[in-house]
């Protein structure tokens, strides 16, 4: 059923253990001829093959414009690949069946300020996926919403509040509850803590760790913050100009990076250790 198996590394794993598989995924954007611009093609994602096992957290790191978010959109069925395909539990995703897709894969976005409807209460926001999927009776849904909000740590009194009455951390908790209410097994976390303050970031990272342990979730964790990635993930894939330039276990990538780009990314991390100065980066290799 899967003709692309040879393109992915580590093909010895039983396919039912693979939650998410990307096979030679490519997305090109056509640039229109503009006032100052010649027409052309941009390969935002260029032949990416990745596998994420069930219950695993894969960190996808790279800088702005490297194609991380384009990749995430294709996984969620929000953008059709130019070529290649995405398999969820061994089945190819059908962009026409977004509802079915949504049952198993859900996103958490960076900005909890723009990803929640300002005119609906917390309880309504989290209940929308259940309504769309016509799951249970009204009473069932109410209970499920209450349960999941309880799990993400939103006290009862907040359920009738609107997003503008919540702090950034609380909004991100609501976004996580909404993502989890359908009980998907894969979460695409696209920079989920970048917009949050440090003290709140730790709360959300702890929550993601707890949820993974409780529900056996599989995470694709997209981030530019290598400190957070090292803390959270099992394996790391490094993306640069649309391509995966290196992937490996957390230990491999952080202790023995091989690609010059990975080395440069790691060298540029500023840990809170005074006296080390600001790293000098050699950019000649790129």
């Amino acid at each position: 059923m899967n003709t692309h198996a040879s393109t992915a590394p580590g093909a010895s794993n039983a396919s039912d253990q693979i939650a998410l598989e990307l096979c030679d995924l490519t997305r090109t954007y056509r640039l229109k001829r503009g006032l100052f611009r010649a027409p052309g093609l941009i390969k935002a994602v260029d032949g990416v093959s990745l596998r994420i096992r069930r219950g695993e957290t894969l960190g996808l790191v790279g800088e702005s414009g490297c194609g991380k978010s384009t990749l995430a959109k294709m996984l969620l069925g929000l953008l059709e690949p130019s070529s290649g395909n995405v398999l969820i539990h061994g089945k190819e995703i059908d962009p026409g069946k977004r509802l079915a897709l949504a049952r198993s894969i859900q996103p958490i976005f960076q900005d909890p300020y723009s990803s929640l409807n300002p005119r609906r209460t917390v309880g309504d926001i989290v209940g929308v996926p259940l309504q769309l999927h016509k799951i249970g009776s009204d009473a069932d849904r109410k209970k499920q919403v209450r349960d999941i909000l309880d799990i993400v740590g939103m006290p009862e009194r907040t359920h009738t509040q609107y997003p503008n009455q919540l702090s950034g951390g609380q909004r991100q908790r609501v976004a996580i509850a909404r993502a989890l209410v359908l009980r998907p097994d894969i979460l695409i976390c696209d920079e989920p803590t970048s917009a949050l303050d440090v003290s709140v970031q730790a709360q959300i990272l702890n929550l993601l760790l707890d949820l993974k342990a409780e529900f056996g979730l599989t995470y694709l964790f997209i981030s530019h913050d290598l400190g957070v990635v090292e803390h959270l993930v099992d394996r790391v894939a490094v993306m640069h100009r649309g391509k995966i330039v290196e992937q490996g276990t957390r230990e491999q990538i952080f202790a023995r990076p091989e690609h010059p780009y990975t080395r440069m990314l790691l060298a540029s991390v500023l840990t809170p250790e005074p006296g080390l100065g600001i790293p000098e980066l050699s950019t000649e290799t790129l």
Partner: protein
């Protein structure tokens, strides 16, 4: 070294629909010539309002008061708008977070750089141009002479920030206020820009007030650090001291929140600070961190500003105890 900037008891009040917001609540800032002072804090702690207050760029409704505000002996409070305008750009300049919004899209870089100089000093167009090209080169902008004819949209974010730095240096200011200058940039570009700011600062002897929320940046770039929380400086110390002996529960809490390579076990629970920053509208009393602090007690109604050692102060009843703790 002499004090370049000496601010005592600075307060900024902002009127809102729900009452007066005390954005800055009595802070002291002292910066020596050539010093890098980092103001670090989370959103809403008043760090940006402080920088705007220093530059005289507060929103018109805001009310600024201070016991004194001295810049190289000049009383900033006595200056009118014209007097302030003469200082701004010439002797104190600012670098903002988002360079695209602070560059004018419809003028070339050359025009904007030269204007910064010619507005304040009597120089010929050719002299201004030479200095602009020189500073662009020093700021690491490749093909500087050609870039003078380019417009801001033709540059990447990193290059735009380099142009902003060159522009801030055009008049050889004594003080640069940099408000989150690398927050919008990628990590590799951030490291390059921070290096550049540090190098140019040393070369030109400029004092810098560097505003950031990133403790990693603070650790690597600061001489001295003021930690801000809820409109106050809750702790001030030299950079090594503040990371080795944090003496306020907020500072130590913040440091514990960040996963650090080799110190934090991957996948372990991170320490976090529960709760949120209190509202600064209306009357604010006692320690503002009390509602998030595990060690709160009666004495926290009036926290003393403890002199932990000659260079280290902390606004906490337990400051001395905290300072003596060995950090991991």
């Amino acid at each position: 070294m002499s004090l370049l900037l000496d601010i005592k008891n600075l307060k900024v009040d902002l009127p809102t629909e729900r009452g007066t917001l005390q954005a800055v609540r009595g802070i002291d800032i002292q910066v020596k010539r050539g010093e890098m002072l980092c103001l670090v804090g989370e959103s809403g702690c008043g760090k940006s309002m402080t920088s705007l207050a220093l530059m005289g760029l507060l929103p018109s409704k805001a009310k600024r008061t201070a016991d004194h505000m001295l810049f190289d002996g000049i009383d900033l409070q006595s200056l009118d708008e014209r007097g302030m305008a003469q200082l701004r750009g010439a002797r104190m300049s600012m670098i903002f977070q988002e360079p695209m919004t602070s560059l004018n899209p419809s003028y070339t870089l050359g025009d904007q750089l030269c204007e910064a100089l010619r507005a304040h000093k009597k120089v010929t167009a050719a002299q201004a141009r030479d200095r602009a090209v020189y500073l662009l080169e020093r700021a690491g902008v490749p093909m500087a002479a050609d870039r003078m004819r380019q417009y801001p949209h033709q540059l990447s974010g990193g290059l735009r920030q380099r142009v902003m730095i060159a522009m801030a240096l055009m008049c050889e200011p004594d003080l640069i206020i940099a408000d989150e200058p690398t927050t919008a940039l990628d990590v590799t570009i951030q490291a390059q820009i921070l290096r550049l700011i540090r190098e140019l600062q040393k070369e030109f002897g400029t004092a810098v007030v560097f505003i950031t929320h990133d403790l990693g940046v603070v650790a690597r770039i600061a001489d001295n650090v003021s930690v801000m929380y809820a409109g106050q400086v809750v702790e001030h110390a030299p950079v090594r001291e503040i990371f080795a002996h944090p003496s306020h529960y907020y500072t130590s809490g913040l440091l514990n929140c960040i996963p650090v390579r080799g110190k934090t076990l991957p996948g372990s629970r991170l320490q976090s600070i529960p709760g949120v920053v209190p509202s600064l509208i209306g009357k604010v009393e006692g320690c503002t961190f009390a509602n998030r602090c595990a060690h709160v007690r009666e004495a926290c109604i009036a926290p003393p500003n403890v002199q932990v050692d000659p260079t280290h102060t902390a606004l906490c009843v337990d400051a001395v105890t905290l300072a003596s703790l060995e950090t991991a």
